[in-house]
Amino acid sequence: MLPVVVVHGGAGHIPKERSERSTSGVCSAVRAGYAILRGGGSSMDAVVEAVSQLENNPSFNAGCGSVLNVKGEVEMDAIVMDGKTLGSGAVSAVRNIANPVQLARLVMDKTSHACLTAEGASQFARAMGVPEVPLESLITEYSRMRWKKNLAPDANPVESQMGKMG
């Protein structure tokens, strides 16, 4: 039954007109991860590759296409974990990094910490030679539209993102 890779693109509400892009996005990401496994690569390489592809796909709430905070800015979180050693690395509130999951892996591989946040994470990224990207390059029209819509005082961002409890 090995190797195997499974990916998700979030459990929030997806409008009908965006569903096809979400489905094709997770399928191409899983293919990329599986190609690494079929080539004898590690599970860590596979999950980082698959998640990087989804971060680069503006259809998903990660990397480019992230939802915006109340100020209309992007702040991203990511984690990786290695089942062999229970090694783990994470970043939070990073702003101008295209692939936070790759920075999270560097935290695991290059530091003895579990998580770096905000400006400290950015300084670490620069020290690791991870390129910074313009903040605007991560913001899509769709995320800007959802941000504006949820600025209204009576908006319920959790319900808007996750859907009703049912």
Binding site: M1, L2, P3, V4, V5, V6, V7, H8, G9, G10, A11, G12, H13, I14, S22, T23, G25, V30, G33, L37, G40, S42, S43, M44, V47, A50, V51, L54, A62, G63, V67, L68, N69, V70, K71, M76, D77, A78, I79, V80, M81, D82, G83, K84, L86, S88, S92, A93, N99, P100, V101, A104, R105, C115, W147, P157, Q161, M162, G163, M165
Partner: protein, 140 residues
């Protein structure tokens, strides 16, 4: 949020999760994703989980680790995932989804919200779905 879990040919397990967070969140708000045991967890002895959903409720129940706890108690990947999601819904009123795998390569993609885009690749077959109950396959 996006995430992945994998078991390679040597049996090593890993997980990864990444997110832009919650819509219109306060500046500086950190959700479940970077928290070990909430946004993800991986252990060669038990399996791996990557989670998505309402972060504050995922953290309150440490959803990823909770699901692996159920697997340690003998539940299947599917049953353990459903138990974890059901507990999060009833105990703290949260919706979410997970992808889960065990060391033998059994896997599950489960969610308590109305949809979750997911895909899996195993034995050169691609599995995928979006709405509850969907499970499409094709050659990879």
């Amino acid at each position: 949020t996006v995430g992945a879990v994998a078991v390679d040919s040597e049996g090593n397990i890993a997980c990864a999760t990444s997110t832009g967070g919650m819509l219109n969140k306060m500046e500086g708000r950190v959700g479940d994703t970077p928290c070990i045991g909430s946004g993800g967890y991986a252990d060669n002895q038990t399996g791996a989980v990557s989670t998505t959903g309402h972060g504050e409720t995922i953290m309150k129940v440490t959803l990823a680790r909770l699901i692996l706890f159920h697997m340690e108690q003998g539940q299947s990947v599917e049953a353990a995932s459903d138990l974890g999601l059901a507990y999060m819904k009833t105990r703290v009123g949260g919706l979410g989804g997970v992808v889960t795998v065990d060391p033998q390569g059994n896997w599950a993609a489960r969610f308590s919200s109305l949809q979750m885009a997911w895909a899996a690749a195993q034995k050169d077959t691609l599995h995928y779905g979006l709405y509850t109950g969907e499970h499409f396959t094709q050659s990879i």
